[in-house]
């Protein structure tokens, strides 16, 4: 294959990627009213191969969003309603003793809902940490270990979890290790007046809108692999790394907000999330390279759940977004070229 052929093929794939992304996004938009940024980020996470934690009060369409996404994709969908009495085996599956026609008994694995390709973990913070932890291996390794046997999950594997930020009684906040597995943590805002009217119009009519399947699993996997090929320049990677580092309070040159309000900063998974999602965003923006703008745009959803505030931060009601904004300014000052800084 010549260079020209490779270029043409890459250009065609980029175009196909953008078209598919747009189709998925459009199908979601047919059902979900408003939440444009939210939908963009959910689809971005899907194409980047990451999981999403949706946080919002009940009734904002979180579950509808996930269900609509599953409809738009030709993938197996499972919903797990997390409750305090939910056990890990209820998620992962278990070995059942079955008897065949000959009367012989044997153990047969009964897969749990985690073996779907799109998993809705609804109200994930209502389950006990033990049960929450059952998702750890599945989300990170895309495999589960049951009775000493490791079982692969079908690709693509996409977990969308929801949690309610206000009804904290009887809930178990997600541990940091669990939070770190999510590519994004997205906040679902309350719809505006026009959006509310549109919601009422769409959902109370005779035929509620339904999403059409626009992409299958194989294509999604191909796009996920293709997105990983998008180049990221050294200075962009450095910018992302400095941004992650600037959320930590330990370095001597740490920003003021990080030093005052942060107990633990973002993990290296935060850096990976920034670049992986940045590559998808670059393609959707018509570029074939990651820009610092992508990193900045994705910093809040990719890092907000990885920053652990200290007592002072909690007491003063500091939002992680404030720390991230400070870190962005800090990284900007550190990585801007000398000529641009006026030196």
């Amino acid at each position: 294959m010549t260079t020209r052929d490779a270029d043409l093929r890459a250009a065609e794939t980029v175009e196909e990627f953008r078209r598919t992304f747009g189709l998925v996004r459009a199908e979601l938009g047919r059902v979900i009213v408003g939440h444009h940024d939210l939908l963009d980020l959910v689809v971005t996470a899907l194409f980047a191969g990451g999981h999403v934690l949706l946080e919002g009060v009940p009734g904002l369409g979180k579950t509808l969003l996930v269900r609509t996404l599953a409809q738009a994709l030709d993938l197996r969908f499972a919903r797990i309603q997390f409750t305090p009495d939910l056990m890990p085996a209820d998620i992962l599956g278990t070995n059942l003793l079955v008897q065949d026609e000959a009367g012989r008994r044997r153990f047969e694995f009964q897969p749990g809902p985690i073996f779907a390709q799109i998993v809705l973990a609804d109200e994930i913070n209502r389950a006990t940490p033990k049960t929450q932890s059952a998702l750890l291996e599945a989300m990170q390794e895309h495999s589960v270990s049951i009775a000493g046997e490791s079982r692969r999950l079908d690709e693509p594997f996409f977990v969308l979890a929801t949690q309610n930020p206000i009804e904290m009684e009887g809930t178990y906040p997600l541990p940091e290790a669990q939070l770190d597995r999510f590519l994004f943590k997205l906040r679902v805002p309350f719809p505006a007046l026009d959006e509310l009217r549109e919601i009422a119009d769409r959902t109370t009519g005779p035929e509620p809108p339904e999403a059409q399947r626009v992409v299958d699993g194989a294509a999604l996997r191909r796009f996920q692999a293709f997105a990983r090929e998008v180049p990221a320049a050294s200075h962009v990677q450095e910018y992302a790394a400095r941004l992650v580092l600037a959320t930590h309070p330990e370095p001597a040159e740490a920003p003021d907000a990080a030093r005052r309000f942060v107990r633990y900063g973002a993990s290296p998974r935060g850096l990976q999330a920034l670049l992986r999602a940045g590559k998808v965003r670059a393609l959707t923006q018509g570029r074939v390279h990651v820009a610092t703008d992508d990193v900045v745009a994705l910093a809040a959803p990719a890092l907000r759940h990885r920053i652990l505030l200290n007592f002072e931060g909690e007491a003063e009601g500091v939002e992680p977004e404030r720390v991230i904004a400070d870190a962005i300014r800090h990284a900007e000052a550190q990585t801007a070229p000398a000529a641009a800084r006026g030196l």
Binding site: P231, A233, S234, D293, A336, A338
Partner: protein, 523 residues
């Protein structure tokens, strides 16, 4: 051309303009710092007398800054990646160019997404407008640099040499003014002396000295400026003195140039200038006597005249008189022996003119030397940076009484006037700068009101009539005169002892002895 070369070619104008902008910014800051430093130094010089050649410093620093700017343009030239990143930011290219430069630097075939990205970047770079991306603007602190430069120029125009009274700089300014007055006075006296004694070099040097003095008397003369001017005057006086000395040497050696200069080691110890002048003066007086003896009614015989001319010629030969004078005397002697008194008188007149010319040059040299020494002392007083300025210890000496050194040259102004060693303090000289012990100047020596006489005694010892002119001071009826007579025994003994000790020429010793014998008989 490869993609890498093409991209760098497109980014080159941006990099160049960024380098110029950075260099201008650097230069502006350097100008601010330099001008601030010079202004601070200028303000300090109003309190403390410091060497502050503002113009030279400014020229030197400006040259250094220009050279530094040229180096800075090269040094500040950004790399291709930096230029690309700046272009990305300013043209809102979302890291297109920076990523392309980075990908090209990594190597590998530009195919697939890499190739797409690089070609996309090349397309964006080709549309890049370097003037819009990297405009060359004056930095924000340029106005400050301009303001500081204007302030510096204003200081040079209106504030240079400013000294706050009561501070060391103020005392220094007073010293400079005082030395200026001294130089003006010295120049005036040199002018008078030069006119009275027909001393051409002295006449030429006097206006420069007066002009330098007037400049020092002007307000706001800097320490280093004043010192430079005074040293320039010293240099001019030294040059004039050297010129006169060369002419004297040429005249004394008869144009052969083999005569060692005064005060320098040679085949035989050369006479010091004042001794030289005394000898020339004595020779001139003797020649004048002989010339007067040729006049009508003197009754001097031709043999006697020839004998005295021979003795005088031998004496002049021993003291190193110019060959032209000796030749003139020989011609006069031969004419006298031949009975040609007119020719003899003419030859003697020529020799006399030669001697008078040399005598004037010696007077010129001594006057210039003394003036140079005094100006040198002024320079030393100024160089002491006003330490003790205004006190009696460092009060400048008055100008030399150069009238004594001029004219006939009968009285040298100062023994060893060519010597740079300052003379010891005299009754009206005060103390040398830095060597005084306090006190103030004494009252000036009272001057007699009599008319100045060039010579009180004319004629050769023991060679005929001696003409004596006496000065009668105001209020005195008769001149203070003691009748000639036999000297006392102790005086005669002392004279004998002195004559035996000094290495005098035998002929001169004979003359002295005959003089005393004529006056009062054998001692």
């Amino acid at each position: 051309m490869t993609e890498s070369g093409e991209l760098h070619r497109l980014l080159q104008p941006v990099a160049r303009r960024l380098a110029i902008t950075a260099a201008v910014r650097l230069l502006s800051r350097a100008v601010c710092l330099t001008a601030s430093g010079l202004l601070v130094l200028a303000l300090v010089t109003a309190v403390v007398p410091l060497p502050f050649p503002l113009l030279r410093l400014t020229v030197a620093l400006a040259t250094a800054l220009v050279l530094g700017a040229a180096v800075a343009v090269r040094w500040c030239r950004p790399t291709g990646l930096a230029a690309a990143r700046v272009a990305d930011r300013r043209a809102a290219l979302a890291d297109r160019l920076g990523t392309a430069v980075d990908l090209l630097a990594r190597g590998g075939p530009p195919a697939g997404l890499r190739g797409l990205q690089i070609r996309d970047a090349l397309s964006a770079a080709s549309r890049l407008e370097p003037r819009a991306v990297a405009p060359i603007r004056l930095p924000k602190d340029a106005w400050l640099a301009v303001a500081l430069c204007l302030a510096l120029a204003g200081w040079a125009r209106f504030g240079a040499g400013l000294a706050i009274p009561g501070t060391p700089a103020g005392r220094m300014a007073a010293t400079i003014h005082r030395e200026g007055r001294v130089l003006v006075d010295l120049g005036r006296r040199l002018n008078e002396t030069g006119r009275a004694g027909h001393l051409p070099e002295t006449l030429r040097a006097a206006p420069a000295l007066q002009e330098a003095g007037r400049r020092l008397e002007a307000p706001r003369v800097g320490w280093d400026d004043a010192l430079g001017q005074v040293r320039e005057v010293v240099r001019q006086l030294q040059a004039a003195q050297d010129s006169v000395r060369r002419r004297i040497n040429e005249a004394m050696s008869g144009g052969r140039g083999d005569r060692p200069s005064a005060g320098t080691p040679g085949n035989q110890p050369a006479a010091r200038p004042n001794e030289e002048a005394q000898r020339i003066e004595a020779a001139r007086l003797a020649l004048q006597d002989l010339a007067a003896a040729l006049g009508p009614g003197t009754g001097m015989s031709a043999e006697e005249l020839a004998r005295r001319l021979r003795a005088l010629s031998e004496s002049l030969g021993q003291v190193g008189a110019p060959p032209s004078v000796r030749e003139g005397l020989d011609r006069a002697r031969r004419a006298a022996e031949g009975g040609e008194r007119g020719a003899s008188a003419s030859a003697m007149a020529e020799a006399l003119q030669d001697l008078q010319g040399i005598e004037r040059m010696l007077g010129d040299e001594q006057t210039l030397g003394e003036a140079r020494r005094q100006v040198q002392q002024s320079a030393e007083r100024i160089a002491q940076r006003g330490g003790g300025a205004g006190t009696a210890q460092s009060a400048p000496q008055g100008p030399p009484d150069t009238s004594r050194a001029a004219g006939s040259g009968s009285n040298a102004p100062t023994p060893g006037g060519d010597d740079t060693t300052p003379s010891p303090p005299g009754p009206n000289q005060g103390s040398l700068a830095g060597r005084g012990t306090g006190g103030t100047l004494g009252a000036p020596t009272p001057r007699l009101g009599g008319t100045r006489t060039q010579s009180r005694l004319e004629g050769l010892p023991a060679q005929g009539t001696t003409h004596v002119r006496e000065i009668v001071g105001p209020g005195r009826a008769a001149p203070a005169q003691r009748a000639a007579g036999r000297p006392p025994a102790d005086v005669a003994h002392e004279i004998d002892r002195a004559l035996s000790q000094d290495p005098l020429p035998p002929s001169y010793l004979t003359l002295v002895r005959r003089y005393f014998e004529t006056q009062g008989g054998a001692p």
